[in-house]
Amino acid sequence: MAPEPQNIPGHRAVETLVAKLRRRQVVGSREAALETAIVLRQVVSKARFTNIQQLITVIREVGRRLAEAQPKEHSVGNTVRRVLHNVREEYNSATKGSAASRNVYSIGKFVLQGQPRKQSGGAAKSDGRITLKENDPDDQDSFARALKPVLMEAIQDVLDELETVYDNVSKNAKDHVHSDEIILTIGHSKTVEAFLKSAGHYRNYTVIVAETAPSYQGHEMARSLSAAGISTFLVPDSSIFAIMSRVNKVILGAHAILANGGLFAISGALLAATAARAHSTPVVVCAGQFKLTPLWNLYHEYGALDFADPSSVLGFEEGKLVERVDVVNPYYDYVGPELVDVFITNDGDHPPSSVYRLIKETYDDDDHEL
């Protein structure tokens, strides 16, 4: 039973966010994830439900509307799935007192048996079992009242994790970068920027930033890194292959990490990764775990396509050319898992081949399709 849009508690906040996403006023996957988590917190706090299934349906409906507003912004859907996973976990630990997952078919269950489950703060925080009465006819709100504090904490966990992404990714930066290294990066990923600045406190090395036309985000990155005292070179994208023979590492940021270990990154990342593979240079991707997406298909080259403004490529000052020539300006590239060596996330380092396991642990199978 899908609730009407007006019946969703806090629907005004949801509508605002939907409008912002559709108009692309939310810039950056972390911003989108933060806003989504905040909206979900509002929805859950205002929600009225008598059993867990109602709450989950409400959250899924909200998530579906948000994801449809901007399908290329995968972090929105990821945050919704994360919240759902946490909610279910809280509910399970509250009722059964065990941290077992609901899914009986999950291969993750085999992986997790015998392994300490990643603590999302669920079982430890709820002291003992909360007596829950589902579908109580006398007091319709008792179930919700009892469960809400715990759910709020769960969502707060998600928010906390999002806010500390940069610090956690840069924790081991100095172990990945050694002195006198030459590192190539493209685009302006804030995660990579934090990573490099943190390594810059301990090590003396050089960064080469590619301009990444036509957004020219590389200029921002170069300015910010050089202001932090790291010796920086700014080169146009055309010289990526030329300088690759001297580069020790390539560090990229990601827009979304896919279930097969591949990633969507800013266009130009595929060039850098392929050139690095041609020179046997390691490719490192720095991203927060909120970018892990359970979606996957065979046509990622087309799935990555999100076209941006062509006037950055061929502006209207070219006049006659504009009407005769097709101009293509894709914003994202798909980089296959065979080109990446390691993902450095706020939850540790992982090779591309184990991304599927991370996804199993972080999300529930039911939520892959919102």
């Binding site: 200029h219 170069a222 055309s238 030329a242 300088i243 800013i266 060039l271 080259e301 050319l321």
Partner: protein, 458 residues
């Protein structure tokens, strides 16, 4: 500190010719060896005393000069030379002046500053074209200006422009008395060539053409009257241009055009004069194909190519280099031009060509290089660092889009930030499928045998 030290360094045995010798009673030649040595010692002692007195003062004016030089870009080689000469100079200064403390500490500071730049220091930014020294023919002066402002670009265009200018010079040349044309003309041309090289490093095509010209000059008949000799030389230059560039291009147009079939999607990068001719010819002969032009900073030459192709009626798509991954799966053939080809088949071409060839190889798209035989180079280059050229900083080519704020795009060299715009890169032979020349379609590994097979030196 370091610049001051380099100026002080002079060859151990030679007399210090750079010294502003105020009122030397005898010329160096007439002094005996002992007197010369005495003079040297006196000057060295005076200098040592000066450095001991000045100490830090003498070094700090050198530092800002160091920075000005590296940002001006004119003395790009200076940072490289400084650490080399700084070490022996520092040792000498420490011994003689006994002011070793000051010199070594400022030395290491200078070295740390230049450390980040060392790896690219041999690239050499173009030096500003100074006023013509000596007898520079006006045609050469004009040509040098056109080169340094990138009004004439492209290997073929530069070579033809150079040879045409040389024809003018040769016609204006008058053999001085007691000299023969065949011996003197070359010495007359050398400073002209140096002026051109100072404006922009010589292209391989120019080098090959000049070598052929030198051969022709030294082979001119001694008995020929001057005007006839000059006319013969001009005719030889004309033949060179005609045979090895114009006719060669026509043969390449036809051969490469045969590789284009109806319905093909042809991808090309930047603007090669040969590929432009191939595509226009193929379209004129009625083949239906569409073109994708990939372009990139710093020069953004592809825009001009797109204008020409779309004017001719070819359906074009235009995109920038980072978007290449999204379209490569649609492409049937890649045509690229070359600045020069080395004996191992490696293609030295506009920066970005290597990326295009590499992506094409990854998608199993054939890469065809269109190149005349006069572009072959006997050397072998291993990577794009051995020999390259940097474009001057600033928006010389108006290559930034208008819809971005200007201040974010016009970055200058700041402390810790340096901007490099290499103009060329090297495509490894493994990425190239075939090379179309006027003598046929050959695989890249066989390039070294072509000059031999043709019975030519180059």
């Amino acid at each position: 500190m370091a610049p001051a030290a380099t100026l002080d360094v002079h060859p151990p045995n030679g007399p210090p010719t750079a010294e502003p010798s105020a009122g030397q009673p005898k010329s160096q030649k007439t002094m005996t060896k002992a007197e010369r040595r005495e003079l040297q010692e006196k000057q060295r002692a005076a200098k040592a005393a000066k450095t001991a007195v000045n100490g830090v003062n003498g070094k700090t004016p050198g530092k800002p000069k160091d920075q000005a030089a590296s940002t001006g870009g004119a003395a790009k080689r200076a940072p490289e030379a400084q650490p080399k000469t700084a070490a022996p100079a520092a040792v000498r200064a420490a011994e003689k002046a006994k002011a070793g403390q000051a010199s070594t500490t400022t030395d290491t500071m200078g070295k740390n500053q230049a450390r980040g730049l060392l790896i690219f220091s041999h690239f050499g930014l173009p030096k500003p074209v100074n006023a013509a020294k000596g007898d520079i023919h006006p045609a050469i002066a004009r040509l040098a200006l056109q080169f340094s402002t990138f009004k004439i670009t492209g290997a073929n265009a530069r070579c033809i422009a150079t040879l045409t200018a040389f024809k003018t010079i040769i016609q204006d040349y008058v053999t001085p008395p007691n000299h023969t044309l065949s011996r003197h003309l070359m010495t007359y041309l050398s400073p002209q060539i140096n002026h051109l090289v100072a404006a922009r490093p010589m292209s391989v095509t120019m080098g090959n053409a000049i070598r052929q010209l030198k051969l022709d000059i030294s082979g001119t008949d001694f008995d020929l009257p001057e005007q006839d000799a000059k006319d013969a030389l001009c005719r030889q230059i004309d033949t060179y241009i005609h045979e090895r560039i114009i006719i060669a291009d026509q043969v390449i147009q036809e051969t490469a055009g045969n590789k284009i079939k109806d319905g093909d999607v042809i991808l090309t990068y930047a603007r090669s004069s040969v590929v432009e001719k191939v595509l226009l010819e193929a379209h004129a002969s009625g083949r239906k194909f569409s073109a994708i032009v990939v372009d990139s900073r710093p020069m953004l030459e592809g825009k001009r190519l797109v204008a020409i192709l779309s004017e001719a009626g070819i359906q074009c798509t235009y995109l920038l280099l980072p978007a290449l991954g999204s379209v490569m799966s649609e492409v049937s053939t890649v045509f690229i031009g070359a600045h020069s080809i080395h004996s191992n088949g490696a293609v030295y071409s506009r920066a970005g060509t290597a990326l295009v060839a590499m992506m094409a190889k990854r998608h199993s798209v054939p890469v065809v290089v269109c190149c005349e035989t006069y572009k072959f180079s006997e050397t072998i280059q291993l990577d794009s660092f051995t020999k390259n050229e940097l474009a001057p900083l600033g928006d010389l080519f108006s290559s930034f889009p208008n819809n971005k704020p200007r201040e974010s795009l016009t970055l200058e060299n700041q402390p810790n930030l340096e901007i490099l715009n290499p103009l060329y890169d090297l495509t490894p032979p493994t990425c190239v499928t075939a090379v179309v020349t006027e003598v046929g379609v050959i695989p890249p590994n066989s390039i070294s045998s072509i000059p031999v097979a043709l019975g030519r030196l180059l």
